[in-house]
């Protein structure tokens, strides 16, 4: 603190995690940030995929083999959830940016809805991928 703002007195810290009761909006906020960090890695995985494709059939087969392994699939399922939760969070925040939906009841409801949407959309995508034979 002092290094960033020399000459300024130490200021009281705001109440932190252990002070607050858990709210679903708080969970939504933390989950949103965690998903963004996951998607940072996901974007690099996507670039790696494009580079593997540009490097020829052998590199592509090796890379997709890694993605198709059990660990790779778990990572991709997590990234699918992160992607859909990011989508529903952008919509949720766009709504809040217009000054609406701030009463606790509505704010909680749309946060729960955005989590439910992400779970359902993730399940739909992976079931579709399984049905179309992409997972074999």
């Amino acid at each position: 603190m002092t290094e960033a703002s020399p000459g300024v007195r130490e200021r009281p810290l705001s109440p932190h995690l252990q002070i607050w009761r858990w709210h679903v909006t708080m969970l939504g906020s933390i989950l949103h940030r965690a998903c963004l960090m996951a998607l940072y890695v996901g974007a690099l995985i996507l670039v790696g995929w494009a580079l593997a494709l540009a490097s020829g059939p052998d590199a592509y087969a090796t890379y997709t083999g890694l993605l198709g392994s059990l660990l790779g699939k778990l990572v991709l399922i997590g990234l699918t959830f992160a992607l859909f939760f990011q989508i529903s969070s952008v919509v949720r925040h766009a709504l809040w940016d217009t000054g609406r939906a701030f009463t606790p009841k509505v704010a909680d409801t749309i946060t729960i809805a955005s989590i439910v949407f992400a779970v359902v959309a993730t399940a739909v995508v992976w079931i579709l991928a399984g049905v179309t034979g992409g997972l074999s």
Partner: protein, 133 residues
Amino acid sequence: MSGKTVGYRTPLGRARGLGAAKHGVGHFISERVSGLALIPLSLWAAFAGIKLAGRDFDLVSAWIAQPLNAVLLGLLIVVGFYHLRLVTQVIIEDYVYTFVAKSSLLILNLVVCVLGAALGVFAILKVALTGAF
């Protein structure tokens, strides 16, 4: 955001819309607009992922060689890294206070995102325009 409750601000200050920090509005708007742009791109990418999962090299190369696919994938990567740079900058600024650590992370974030976008676009163009190898 509505401006109704900020009667103490001067008309000029309100018109400039910069707030106390004199910057940040542009960052905020860029973050929100790129986030909205990523919604259709991400949904398209999810369907593309379903379509391409488990398919072989030749089919995937031919898929990328189609102009619409190459352009949309390129846009997804460019807009995606642009958005990620903006949101990650905010997260770094929220949690890292010391000057050296904060500056280093902000520069690293910028370098990784620009490099990621450049490599991704180059790889897509290479496959789309010249075929792989």
